[in-house]
């Protein structure tokens, strides 16, 4: 037997299934050949020997199959082990490479962190708005918000808010739903001495049937405790409120907390993260029947209770479909119930349009409001943000791809050597991908950190009703980030890896890095242009939104939002007669006027974008005036127009002479005058309010229109009565000499002294009320500017690094030029020309894209054309300027090239 091991090795490896099968066949063939030979040698005939060998062996077919199965499994396991070993090896290798170039690694990781962080932040918001079902809601696909739509003047309105009577009608009139609940979440005073206004969810007991909530302490309220008319004053606290106010103590169960004007017994605590259907946690959950009277105040004689009638739409309804009932079937069931309910309502409210005009129809919508029929601006803005942040990620990827490409060029020699030494191209390819994925993973970690910080920033500044500290990062977000990182790693690594794999070994080993690098690859140029173009796109968006925001702020509102604050008395159970309320409002107005820093005060009834009172008006000799639009009623003190900053165009405002008993005065808006009395003198005309039988109010003045509902196309129909003559005020306007709400607390403290008992005042600057109105533009301007600036920075760094690298690589060529008499200025021009060429291409591409995309952006802008030339011009200038800055350092370095050193280096 030759050799130490008794046999000579053959080079044979079982790698695939085909190899395995052949190997088993060969092995068995050898066995039978040997066995038959031995048996023949012992004297058997060939045929007998064959039979005997097979008898000794057993079932050949089955054994062969079994051996193949075992071997295939072994080979597959071996492959897996080898793959993992390779990946581990690649990872170690990649880490070593990164440690050797910490600057490069930091640049790449930071760039990716910015890109991924932006996307993670936005995803967190969008996920909450559009995808993630509320917590503790099992089988959320079967739970729906119910909407009730009717057609009015040819337009259909889907109402999410309904009356209690409607709720009862559809609960009793449907069979498609396993459970149905109504709730409302108003702000109520919580606490006794240091009362805060907090949101409190009042819900029917069936609320708890739709969810699957196990209280962390105590219990939930029951149907018995939620039986009308009054219900039991019991409260289930939310987890955050329990923690913040009671420090999470269990002995709060059974104690009392004052909500509104009633003491509630705490019976339980909802689990952490349970917010009902709210976007943030309310303070507590209370039975609807105990909260309604508490909140709405006593419904005096002659006024309907909250349980009666269809006029008072305050509840939201959601329901769980029965198993096996389709959405369509439940919709028709609900619509039928709604139609019956509508008929009952029509019997009560005679002005209601008939069912064949109103076409009542129910909608079984998504449990997420933003996916229902009444999608708000938040989700539209959020969808835009997804686009914008995705662009930032693309730019970041392009930049990192470029850096990796540049490095791959530098590493050509190394790669060529390794290829020559026999590393397979597949291994090399996967190794380069592992490297970029590692970078992306590190970037993602940075991105998560940024997102944590960014979400807080974004949320608190821009989407205040959507943020909850502490719950920013969860498994869904992690999954998203990992996917984004994996994609980024693959995308950024692909081009350099492909290029490396296509490398021609012999040329590279002969030529050396210097020659190989002098040609800029078209991929690299393309990436640079793309980055620049996308930056242009974002900056154009930023410019358009900034101009929109500017225009929005320039809109003449008809009142000084910056200086006005609205003071609302919250009575908290202190019951005042109408006359007492009036006197209180007078007292508050008087007290406000003497506060230092206050320029004026007036009673007020309607507050723009916040609260308005509309009443029917009647003009002698004219029919159906109310079909012309809704007229907003305001009742005011003398001096109101100076206080609000609303100009009187003709006649006079409300003055001291408009006393009780004096002729009743009214001031109308310009638009109202033009609508009611076109081409006529309005002063002196008669306006009756509420009913034809009411006394005349004589028009004494015409005021400018104010924006009451919308910045863009407000109807502008307002009329102002003297509070002394028509007592309907709701609160007090206070005008401060300082802008903004700086002295809101001063006002609150001064006026609080006038409030009886446990009642109190809230002071809200009008600028704060207007904030949500201007938010979409603010958001657009901020986001586009932030992301656009980020994109520009990243693109500029990309351009700089590529140019700087190019200059370093071309030092010999430049050296030759200098030696041949090129002046520094010529060298600088050389570099600048290249940078500006790229940048001009990028601007052209970006501008064309922006012009095309402008169509979709137009509805979001305010009085700005999506093709606004000023914006485009400014952006182009900014880009060119940044290009020059990015070129400057490389150009200077090139100009300083010493031909002696550059040429000698070879």
């Amino acid at each position: 037997m030759p050799g130490r091991d008794g046999f000579r090795r053959l080079f044979r490896l079982d790698r695939g299934d085909r190899d395995v099968d052949r190997s088993v066949r060969d092995e068995l063939a050898f066995h039978f050949e040997m066995a038959v030979a031995d048996l023949v040698a012992s004297g058997m005939t060939a045929a007998d020997a064959r039979l005997e060998a097979e008898r000794r062996f057993g079932d050949v077919g089955r054994t062969r199959h079994r051996l193949e199965t075992i071997d295939r499994a072994r080979v597959a396991e071996g492959r897996r082990v080898e793959q993992w070993r390779n990946i581990l090896h690649d990872l170690r290798f990649a880490l070593r490479m990164l440690r050797r170039q910490p600057g490069f690694a930091a640049a790449v990781i930071l760039t990716l962190a910015l890109g991924i962080g932006a996307n993670t932040t936005i995803f967190g918001i969008v996920d909450r708005l559009l995808f993630r079902p509320p917590a503790l809601l099992p089988n959320p696909d079967h739970v729906h918000r119910l909407y009730f739509a009717r057609t009015d003047n040819g337009r259909e309105f889907a109402a999410a808010n309904v009356s209690y009577q409607r709720y009862l009608d559809v609960v009793n009139g449907t069979s498609a739903f396993a459970s149905m609940a109504a709730f409302w979440t108003p702000r109520m005073a919580v606490g006794r001495d240091n009362a805060n206004e907090m949101r409190v969810t009042m819900a029917t007991a069936s609320f708890w049937q739709v969810f699957d909530v196990t209280p962390v302490a105590g219990r939930l309220f029951t149907a018995v405790e939620d039986s009308p008319p009054a219900g039991e004053p019991v409260a289930v606290l939310s987890w955050p409120f329990w923690q913040a106010t009671f420090g999470g103590r269990r002995d709060v169960l059974g104690t009392r907390v004052r909500i509104g004007r009633v003491d509630y017994t705490i019976i339980g605590v909802a689990p952490r993260g349970f917010w009902g259907l709210e976007q943030t946690a309310p303070a507590a959950f209370i039975p609807l029947s105990s909260g309604a009277d508490n909140f709405h105040g006593p419904f005096g004689p002659g006024r309907p209770s909250w349980r009666q009638g269809y006029g008072f739409n305050w509840l939201q309804i959601f329901a769980r479909r029965k198993e096996g009932v389709s959405i369509d079937a439940s919709t028709s069931d609900l619509t039928a119930a709604f139609k019956r309910s509508y008929a009952l309502q029509a019997a009560e409210q005679h002005h209601l349009p008939p069912a064949d005009v109103a076409r009542p129809r129910a909608i079984v919508g998504s449990i997420l409001t933003e996916r229902g029929p009444n999608q708000g601006t938040n989700s539209k803005v959020a969808l835009w943000l997804i686009g914008v942040s995705a662009i930032v990620l693309i730019i970041a990827c392009a930049n990192v791809g470029n850096l990796l490409l540049a490095r791959a060029v530098r590493r050509r020699r190394e790669i060529a050597v390794r290829l020559a030494l026999g590393i397979s191209r597949t291994r090399l390819f996967s190794q380069l991908l592992v490297e970029s994925t590692l970078l992306a993973a590190l970037g993602a970690a940075g991105g998560l950190a940024l997102a944590r910080w960014g979400a807080g920033l974004l949320g608190s500044v821009l989407l205040p009703d959507l943020t909850t500290p502490g719950s920013v990062i969860d498994s869904r977000l992690l999954l998203f980030t990992s996917l984004a990182a994996a994609a980024a790693g693959f995308v950024t690594g692909l081009a350099p890896a492909l290029q490396a794999v296509r490398l021609d070994v012999t040329t590279m080993l002969h030529g050396g890095a210097r020659d190989g690098a002098s040609h800029r690859s078209p991929v690299q140029l393309g990436l640079l242009v793309m980055q620049g173009a996308l930056s242009t796109l974002l900056l154009v968006g930023a410019g358009l939104f900034m101009r929109s925001l500017h225009n929005v702020r320039d809109v003449r509102l008809g009142f000084d939002a910056d200086r006005l604050s609205f003071v609302a008395p919250v009575m908290r159970g202190v019951v005042l007669s109408a006359a007492e309320t009036s006197r209180l409002h007078e007292r508050l107005t008087g007290a406000a006027r003497v506060i230092p820093g206050v320029d004026g005060a007036s009673r007020t009834e309607s507050v723009p974008f916040y609260w308005d009172n509309e009443d029917n008006i009647f003009i002698p000799g004219r029919d159906s005036v109310n079909k012309l639009g809704s007229f907003v009623q305001q009742s005011v003190s003398p001096g109101y127009f100076a206080t609000a900053g609303t100009r009187i165009l003709h006649g006079r405002g409300i003055t001291d002479e408009d006393r009780p008993g004096a002729p009743r005065a009214v001031v109308v808006s310009r638009m109202m005058a033009a609508t009611l009395w076109p081409a006529q003198e309005a002063i002196g005309k008669c306006v009756k309010v509420s009913a034809d039988t009411m006394p005349c109010n004589h028009v004494v003045g015409i005021a400018e229109d104010i924006k009451q509902f919308s910045l863009r196309d407000d109807p502008g129909l307002e009329y102002y009565l003297a509070a002394a003559q028509a007592d309907a005020t709701f609160g007090v306007y206070v005008r401060t000499s300082a802008r903004g709400g700086a002295s809101a607390e001063t006002i609150r403290r001064a006026l609080q002294r006038e409030m009886p008992g446990v009642s109190y005042v809230t002071v809200t600057p009008l600028s704060q009320i207007l904030e949500p109105v201007t938010l979409p533009w603010q958001l657009g301007a901020t986001m586009f500017t932030m992301f656009g600036g980020l994109a520009l920075l990243v693109a500029a760094v990309g351009l700089y690094s590529v140019l700087a690298y190019g200059v370093a690589q071309r030092s010999r060529e430049i050296g030759v030029r200098v030696a041949l008499g090129a002046r520094p200025r010529d060298v600088v021009t050389l570099v600048l020309r290249e940078g500006l060429g790229i940048s001009l291409g990028a601007i052209a591409l970006g501008v064309v894209t922006a012009l095309l995309a402008g169509r979709w952006l137009a509805p979001l802008l305010f009085s700005v054309s999506p093709r606004d030339p000023v914006t485009y011009g400014t952006v182009a200038l900014v880009l060119l300027l940044v290009t020059v800055i990015a070129c400057l350092a490389p150009a200077q370095r090139a100009a300083r090239t010493d031909p002696n050193i550059a040429l000698r280096a070879e």
Partner: protein, 120 residues
Amino acid sequence: MFPSNVQGNAVAESDLDLVQGTLDLLVLKALAWGPMHGYGVARWVGATTADDLQIEEGALYTALHRMERRGWLSAEWGLSENNRQAKFYRLSAAGRRQLRAETARWTRYVAAVTRVLQTA
């Protein structure tokens, strides 16, 4: 204990029921002498047991491949004594450990059973 890893389909039909662990032990022992191809193992086992155990050779091959998969044996193609291509098996370090452990366990097992039989 020893018979616990019996697998029904690996039990050869013979005078003495041969459980899989025993088969493994025999194959490991055969290879303890040096690398061998499958036929060699079969011949060694037959000769050593004087055919008392009536082992189906197919079962031996199954044992060889299974132990190769478990890493107790490593296999390589080489040339046989008559210059034919054959698959040679060799004990790995893990295989040697396994052989020692199985041998000890088998000895204990037999001793225990023998004691029982003797007291009877």
